[in-house]
């Protein structure tokens, strides 16, 4: 499997994503420059975390116009997988790859910590290796992570099982305190209609080694690899 990691000016989790897929999945990975027009045959595209264009104006607002984004959108329209993490999630929303928007954390502060997530759907190519209701620990690190969408959109996301991860407490309960940014319905990660684009604020690429505090992000990466392999074999 070949992974293309997009590098926008201001991306800063690009290398972490690289190490996650290369060191732990043994995948081949390439960095794709925001001015490029070619995904170099990547099977999986990662929109990594960071502060593209300094998050000036709105997080992700400027990056979405980068030349490479046209290719990323085309890749997604072909049904190929896109993993959008943190700033990548913000960019994906701005680009219309995912519905909704990510606003300033209600506490008005950046928050970096390990949080608990409940796996709400395993019927996606990003989460098949988890089990439903599983509580995992994955860190967040963001200032603009409050997921918002209009009522219809939320209803559709919920109705179609497209909420993949939700912020919960250690016991798996959806609580106000467990929500680090006041996202609607504690939403931490969603997929698009076709199920091939996952956007999430928490950083699975940072949860790849117990020495870093958690390895709960690895099943996510393995799920993607499994799915790609199945596709090739199918």
């Amino acid at each position: 499997m070949k992974v293309g990691i997009i590098r926008f000016p201001g991306s800063n989790c690009d290398e972490d994503a690289y190490h996650a897929v290369v060191d732990h999945l043994g995948a081949q990975a390439v960095f794709l420059w925001h001015k490029d027009h070619d995904l170099q045959g990547a099977d999986l595209v990662i929109l990594p975390g960071g502060f593209s264009y300094g998050d000036y104006l709105r997080a992700g607002a400027i990056a979405r116009f980068s030349p490479i984004m046209r290719e990323v959108v085309a890749h997604a329209e072909r049904g190929a997988p896109v993993l959008a993490i943190c700033n990548g999630f913000q960019i994906a929303c701005e680009a219309g790859l995912l519905p909704g928007a990510l606003l300033r954390n209600a506490q008005l502060r950046f928050v970096c910590e390990q949080v608990h997530l409940r796996v709400e759907s395993i019927a996606t190519r990003f989460s098949a290796r988890y089990h439903i209701g599983q509580v995992i620990r994955i860190p967040v690190a963001h200032g603009d992570g409050r997921y918002t969408a209009d009522g219809d959109t939320i209803a559709r996301l919920e109705g179609e099982g497209r909420v993949v991860f939700r912020y919960v407490d250690a016991a798996g309960h959806v609580t106000h305190e467990a929500n680090p940014n006041a996202s609607l319905r504690n939403i931490a990660g969603i997929v698009n209609e076709r199920g091939n684009v996952l956007g999430m604020m928490p950083h699975p690429e940072r949860a790849t080694d117990v020495r870093l505090g958690s390895a709960d992000g690895l099943p996510l990466l393995h799920s993607i690899a499994d799915a790609l392999l199945t596709e090739v074999n199918a």
Binding site: N12, H19, G50
Partner: protein
């Protein structure tokens, strides 16, 4: 070529008043006139004022700094460069440095702190190192003041926003609240970077004909005179200087970081330096002086943000995110190409010349010219008469045991809770949750422990780091306080499992021309030097911030020590918190009757009195050697040193620091029942580490071999058992939850109250009333 320097049309006349306004003394002015053989121009006055400011010239501290040890086999670069560098393992090295942004942060906390982080990052990556960690050391007045809460919130947000955006984890630091910092907050930032030894580059201008290139952001009118501003007492006059505040752009910094590292690897350049304090002036003059070459710079070639800027303004601007590069002749286009890829500008603004002069032109007109490198080398140094403050000497002489206990103190748990809720001791998670401490996925130990640990990718090795300093100790006894600052930092690094290797330091003091302040400076430096020699942790660099005074008085003299240590194996990483019920608690070092200068006296009685605890660097060295031996032998499950709040606080912290994984303890201190109870529980005797182990016999035997006192004092219990002290006939017990609340909820409780400080957090903007 002979040139004549002439005043620019419209320049004001050089009068004694103008010289004074520039912070140049009459004696210094005479030196300038003698050096030039004529009256300086306004531009030249500006240059001298910047370069001879305390901040750039160290004129009151250099003779003292020279006494510090700077060498060890692992030191690759000592003081004198943008950052120090030590070898670690397998050809890998780390560069690190600390820098203060005290004055800018007092005026505009958000931008002041943010630009402080920007500056220290540049100091590290201009050595060819990739920044991998940031730390910070902060001092504020008491949080009861809304102005202080505003400053605290703004500084923390400024540090966080900048480092988070650049993508360098902020992994540690310290925050102390004490009335002495009320008008003069301290903001020291430290950066650690990793490089391959062969990639080390120095900021030395070389090669006649080589172009000098300005890189990065454009030059605006911001921060003009920042360097001399940082060298004055804070007063109403400095309030009037507010518009000089600089605004940071971490996004541009990130691009500059990547571009600079690429430039250094490319081999196209000879030298690179940050345009930091005093901007273009100091960077160009210092690079020329290090290379002992001449330079000429044409200010009309400098990309500017605003029209009509004078040479004076261009030279002294402190616009952020700019670099000065000396490239190999003929490689200008290659340099430009790299920068363009990162959307950055580069402009050739001058050249290295054979003629021994420092020359600035504005097109054809020479506006400043100094002979050779004398601008840097001729700066005077001052040695001031030393005299101890009689008030402080008297405070030291007071007997802390004579302080009448409060009635509530009959219950030591009451006192313990008060100490755990002292903002200086309480958890700083409110602060570091705002810092991305995990980006780069190398943070093995983040904030909240004695020291942070970063792994070195591709090896099994790690680097541990911390910042420490205790102004109260230094105020009451500068020599002992200086020793303790270094020893405590070393102990912290050792508790994490690392061998302390070298320090950087920031000397935050008052006005050095006062004999009482100079006494503190001289003795603190002497104490630090002693400890560094014994611990074999040489000083590879640092920073001096003087004049931290306001009309109400000076700050506590506050040297902060940034210590870097090395772990040969990540298996040696040792946590602070208790790990398992049933483990034995072993105290390394010994308890004493010392109570002076303690957080206990400050928090419970509002007193800064008594002598600070004695500090024997040789004993600390034995302790550290023994602890590291024990860790390497797999005998230590957790380690935490005793510092603020003493033994009782250290034990309680080990219990509650991990709120999600608390443990209780039961200890018996009857062996020390003859010591005053307050001193035993809350005194701050040095050289102590609380460890836990599953093999106490082996640990005690190992300690004995090293000649380090050690005793089993109790056992780790389940959280539900709470904590228990037995001291002879006295015993005290508590459930964990009240202690955990005191420790964890104090700062959020103060800061999250919807006060104007909250708004500062929300908008980064200032409430101007209290």
């Amino acid at each position: 070529m002979t040139t004549t320097v002439q005043p620019r049309p419209g320049d004001p006349e050089i009068t004694p008043a103008l010289i004074k306004e520039h912070g140049i003394t009459p004696g210094e002015y005479e030196r300038v006139v003698a050096m030039l053989g004529r009256t300086p121009t306004l531009t030249e006055v500006g240059i001298v004022s910047a370069l001879w400011s305390e901040h750039c010239s160290y004129k009151h501290s250099r003779p003292l700094l020279r006494t510090l040890p700077t060498e060890a086999p692992w030191v690759l670069q000592g003081p004198g460069e943008n950052a120090g560098v030590i070898a670690v393992k397998d050809g890998l090295a780390v560069a690190f440095k600390i820098e203060s942004h005290n004055h800018p942060s007092a005026v505009e906390p958000y931008q002041g702190a943010a630009t402080g982080v920007g500056g220290i990052l540049r100091d590290v990556f201009t050595m060819g190192a990739r920044p991998v960690a940031l730390l910070n050391s902060l001092r504020f007045g008491p949080l009861s003041s809304s102005r202080v809460r505003y400053l605290f919130a703004g500084v923390v947000k400024g540090i966080g926003d900048y480092g988070n955006c650049v993508g360098v984890p902020t992994v540690g630091g310290e925050v102390v609240f004490d009335p002495s910092y009320e008008g003069n907050p301290l903001v020291n930032a430290m950066c650690v970077g990793v490089l391959r030894e062969e990639e080390l580059i120095r900021a030395v201008a070389e090669g006649v004909g080589n172009p000098i290139i300005a890189v990065g952001a454009r030059t605006g009118r911001d921060g003009i005179h920042g360097a001399s501003f940082a060298s004055e007492d804070l007063s109403e006059a400095s309030e009037a200087k507010r518009p000089r505040v600089q605004v940071g752009d971490p996004f541009t910094e990130k691009l500059l970081l990547e571009a600079s590292l690429e430039l250094i690897k490319s081999g196209h350049i000879v030298a690179i330096q940050d345009m930091g304090a005093a901007g273009l002036t100091s960077s160009s003059a210092e690079m020329a002086a290090r290379g002992d070459v001449g330079v000429t710079i044409d200010v009309t070639k400098v990309p500017v943000r605003e029209s009509g800027m004078t040479p004076y303004e261009i030279l002294l601007s402190e616009s952020q995110e700019r670099m000065l590069v000396v490239a190999h002749k003929g490689r200008e286009d290659a340099v430009r190409e790299i920068l363009e890829r990162w959307d950055l500008e580069a402009a050739v603004i001058g050249e290295v010349i054979a003629e021994p002069v420092y020359r600035v032109t504005e097109g054809d007109r020479v506006v400043a010219e100094f002979p050779g490198t004398r601008l840097v080398t001729d700066c005077p140094t001052y040695t001031i008469e030393k005299r101890e403050s009689t008030a402080l000497a008297a405070a030291r002489a007071l007997d802390p045991h004579g302080v009448t206990p409060l009635a509530e103190e009959a219950d030591p748990i009451w006192t313990l809770e008060r100490l755990l809720s002292s903002p200086t001791i309480a958890s700083k998670a409110w602060v570091w949750r705002q810092y991305d401490s995990m980006v780069r996925t190398s943070t093995i130990v983040g904030p909240g422990s004695d020291a942070a640990v970063i792994r070195l990718r591709g090896t099994d090795a790690g680097v541990a780091m911390c910042i420490d300093g205790n102004g109260r100790y230094v105020a009451l006894d500068p020599l002992v306080g200086g020793r303790i600052a270094v020893c405590e930092a070393a102990r912290n690094v050792a508790c994490a499992g690392a061998r302390p290797r070298a320090i950087t330091n920031n000397l935050n003091f008052g006005n050095p021309t006062k004999p009482e302040v100079y006494f503190q400076l001289a003795n603190a430096v002497a104490g630090m030097g002693e400890a560094c020699r014994v611990l074999e942790t040489p000083v590879t660099g640092g920073n001096v911030s003087l004049y931290n005074e306001n009309p109400q008085g000076a700050i506590h003299p506050t040297p902060t020590v940034g210590m870097v240590g090395v772990l040969d194996s990540l298996d040696h990483v040792t946590p602070t918190a208790f790990q398992r019920a049933g483990d034995q608690i072993v105290l390394l070092g010994d308890n004493t009757a010392e109570l002076g200068a303690s957080e206990y006296l400050q928090r419970i009685h509002g007193l800064t009195i008594g002598a600070p605890p004695s500090c024997d660097p040789a004993a600390e060295r034995r302790l550290i050697d023994a602890l590291l031996d024990a860790i390497a032998s797999g005998l230590v499950r957790s380690a935490h040193d005793c510092s603020d709040g003493g033994l009782a606080v250290a034990l309680a912290e080990k219990s509650v620091v991990r709120r999600d994984q608390p443990f209780g303890f039961a200890v018996d201190l009857t062996a020390w029942a003859d010591l005053p109870l307050r001193a035993l529980l809350f005194g701050e005797a040095q050289g102590r580490v609380v460890t836990t182990t599953s093999d106490a016999d082996a640990l005690l035997a190992l300690m004995q071999r090293h000649g380090v006192p050690a005793q089993v004092i109790g056992e780790v219990t389940d959280a539900s058992s709470g904590i228990e002290f037995v001291i002879g006939a006295v015993s005290a017990r508590s459930a964990l939850e009240p202690l955990a609340r005191a420790f964890h909820d104090t700062i959020p409780g103060i800061m999250d109250g919807g006060s104007p400080a909250e708004l500062a957090v929300a908008t980064s903007h200032a409430p101007t009333t209290d």
